[in-house]
Amino acid sequence: MKQNRLLIFIMLAVMLMVSACGGATQTPITTEAPVTPPTEVVQLTQAPPTAVPPTQVPAPEPTAAPKVLRIALTANFTTWDPIKSFSTEAAYMANMYEQLLRINPPGSAERFTPLLAESWESSADGLTWTFHLRQGVTFHDGEVMNANAVKMSIDAARDHGGASFIWAPLNATTILDDYTIVFILKYAAPVDLIASSLYGAWIVSPKALEAVAADDTYFETGKEAGTGPYMLDSYTPDQEVVFNKFDNYWGGWKPENYDSVLCQIVPEATTQQQLLEGGEVDLAGSIPNDNLDSFKSNPDYNVYIEKSFFNYVGFFNTLRPPLDNPQVRQALSYAIPYQDIITIAFSGLGTQSRSPVPEGVWPWSDQVNQYTYDMNKAKELLTQAGYPNGGFPMRLTYASENSAEANFAPLIKDSFAQLGIDVTIESMLFNQQWELSKSDPANAQDMFLLLYWPTYSDAGSDNLWSMFYYTEAPFFNLSYWNNPDYNSQLDQAIADTVVDPAKSQQEYIDVMNLLVDQAPGVFFLDTKAAYVIPNHIAGFKYNLNYPFTPFWFYELTPAK
């Protein structure tokens, strides 16, 4: 017995020592930019100030707090490197970094808002694009933003960016003078669209780019080097990120702007809702869809329901019989309870898709066909194809992280069961689902549920190409479909985008109808996004083109 007691005491003592060491050696994650100390005595860092003697700690009485915006988001940092960034951290990147230009929500008067570029033009053949840069812009670390910075950023993105493929059309970038840069393309492409992308288009300080070239973990401790209105103050992984306003921001500051923004990383939507209702945060990025009704009838809140960039697609394995028969696929497409899926899995927040191009994004058109939920038609087609009672099994995979997919997979299963098709549902981590689909098609799934979004606002060269164009090693073509007509028609439509938009649109419509008719996949729905904004916050403007960035800090102010 004594032995155990001794053991416990030693264990506790050691753990205490380890944690005390941990506390002391924790690298203070504060920004490195030369910030003029705020006049109010506020300590915003959470890291232990190892070098600061205790006497410098602010007095414990409540001090006058700076204007702080508190937000709850699910978004986490998978990387701090703006070049590599390709995921949820975009919610924060978009406030610390800027692109050359930003695309406005559909229906705006102007298509683009100039940011780091004041104006731009392209040659008639669409192969040469010239951008005139804004002068007087500095990065958070003091460097000047000029053509060299742009060239370095874009070249880095094309070379090893997370979204490097968006720069595939780029041949070279050339500096004409300090504030003029030219993009020379291999083939015509809408560089204005590409440069407005949420990924792979951030302009980064040359000093930082050099640092990361030397040490590729340079950014990961929590550093940034952008031109955006807010700069990083402190970062606690999985917990929170705090931003301070960048005093030298080229856009200038109004007294209504927030001095600081505190983003709490909260993975559960229910918790976010509770924080919002309890007044602990001003804004919440995700509210459970089912609970929106209570907010709609609450006069203290405004609920915005907007079209989003996201859609759900289900790929059929077109290499495996009987799914290699288009009639069977068409039959199955009639057997999907589209409306039920929207109502149940998405609480009504969605509209049935027309092809994998989401509504509101080029080249969507309402002249593209859709299937309806028609079990009779489904049975008829199946019988014609030679499977009057179904009789074959299907293996459906979906991402376990996605609770919506978890909810509508059983609906598909039950519906197909009525046709005599036995569906086995397998949930796995998205990475594993992905792995499985890329492995030998003989082992692969029969149906793959996918949540998709284009990297920038061109679902022709993105969605249509990525998902159904044939490449030998499938990229997102998880139906393994190879249709030469589709491939060539799509090539043509993409090529004409810049040169002859009207012709291109018509070509796209034809190619989308071909896709829908051959049904290598099911096009479930375009989702809608819902945001609950309390009345005391003004300036919320939803931009469908930037789905991961619900909140643009610079535009939000307290309401009068």
């Binding site: 753990m15 998978t78 997370g162 490097s164 990475n431």
Partner: protein, 340 residues
């Protein structure tokens, strides 16, 4: 000579266990998952990127080589880099440990404060309704799923009664109004030393529900053990003698019996600490508590293999080393042990 032999044997067996632990962890975390490189960069990467990362992470080398490389890094204190946060695993562990420890200590304190008196009272009134009542309460504590209890407490105290906060270690406002100077990262202590009373109150409030949830199981266990030990002690001759002398029952129970029951009870408290540890997984998930438990769950769900290896190794190595130290110490104190 026996002593030396004993020490050597224990050392050798500990090394064996440590190596075994590292092999098992390595196998579980790196061999079994299929394509670690793809998981590192994400799905939209091109094949050439995957190839590049595979080489960079050293995943193209044969397994035994990978293992040796890993062991080499380990001995230098390098536990690898977390895929999720891209920071060193050791840093992730050390920065989150205080949060978990603070929760654990508070929870155990509550468990002891509730459990020991419960056990004593139950033993005092053995067989009476009080005893039955306490025993039922104790066994309920041991049977209640921690994740369920946490949810219930949240609904009751946050949603319905609005008395206690929902999640996290402290409120957002605190950062700007009464920031806590993080010295030890044990927030209660940090707030205390700077006499930051407002922060202290806030932090304490945030600790209540998670600690209560965590304490349910150990409290029940401690109550049961205390009762059993007390009963056993109270059967002893010297207690009967004290009664024969006419000493009051209350004095007998609360003074003599308790004093002697304390020692084995302390042992049990130490052991329940280990079980409370596993409770932290659920409590931290429900209350969004930024400790090791939450990090472990996230790493497991995301198959962040360096983090998983780091956590498992950390826990196991601690255990083995401490066992070894205690054994050696014991042998030094009491040489007879080395003869066994």
């Amino acid at each position: 000579m026996h002593r030396v032999e004993f020490i050597l044997r224990r050392l050798l067996s500990s090394i064996f266990v440590l190596i075994g632990v590292s092999i098992i962890t390595f196998t579980v975390a790196r061999v079994i998952p299929s394509n670690a490189a793809a998981m590192y960069i994400g799905p939209k990467a091109r094949p050439e990127d995957i190839a590049r990362v595979t080489v960079k992470l050293g995943l193209d080398k044969p397994l035994p080589v990978q293992y040796l490389v890993y062991m080499g890094e380990l001995l230098h204190g390098d536990l690898g880099t977390s895929i999720g946060t891209k920071r060193p695993v050791l840093l992730e562990l050390s920065s989150r440990l205080p949060a978990t420890l603070e929760l654990l200590f508070t929870g155990m304190a509550i468990a002891v404060i509730i459990g020991v008196p419960m056990g004593v009272i139950s033993a005092r009134w053995q067989g009476k309704p009080t005893d039955v009542f306490v025993r039922v309460i104790a066994i309920i504590g041991v049977s209640m799923p921690a994740f369920y209890l946490g949810l219930l407490l949240q609904i009751l105290f946050f949603r319905r009664l609005d008395l206690l906060p929902l999640a996290g270690r402290f409120s957002n406002e605190l950062r700007f109004t009464n920031p806590i100077n993080m010295v030890t990262n044990f927030l209660l202590i940090d707030a205390l030393i700077m006499r930051n009373w407002i922060a202290l109150k806030d932090v304490a409030y945030h600790l209540v529900l998670p600690a209560l949830t965590l304490a349910a199981y150990p409290a029940g266990l401690v109550a049961r053990m205390t009762r059993a030990t007390m009963l056993e002690v109270m059967e002893q001759d010297y207690i009967r003698t004290a009664r024969a002398y006419g000493i009051r029952e209350t004095v007998i129970v609360y003074f003599y019996a308790l004093k002697n029951a304390l020692s084995p009870t302390l042992t049990v408290i130490g052991l329940t600490f280990a079980f409370a540890l596993t409770g932290t997984f659920f409590v931290e998930v429900i209350f969004n508590w930024p400790g090791l438990g939450l990090f472990t769950v996230h790493s497991l769900l995301n198959v962040d293999y360096p983090a998983i290896m780091g956590i498992t190794l950390f826990g196991s190595v601690m255990y083995v080393l401490i066992n070894l130290a205690v054994d050696l110490l014991q042998a030094w104190i009491d040489p007879r042990i080395s003869l066994k």
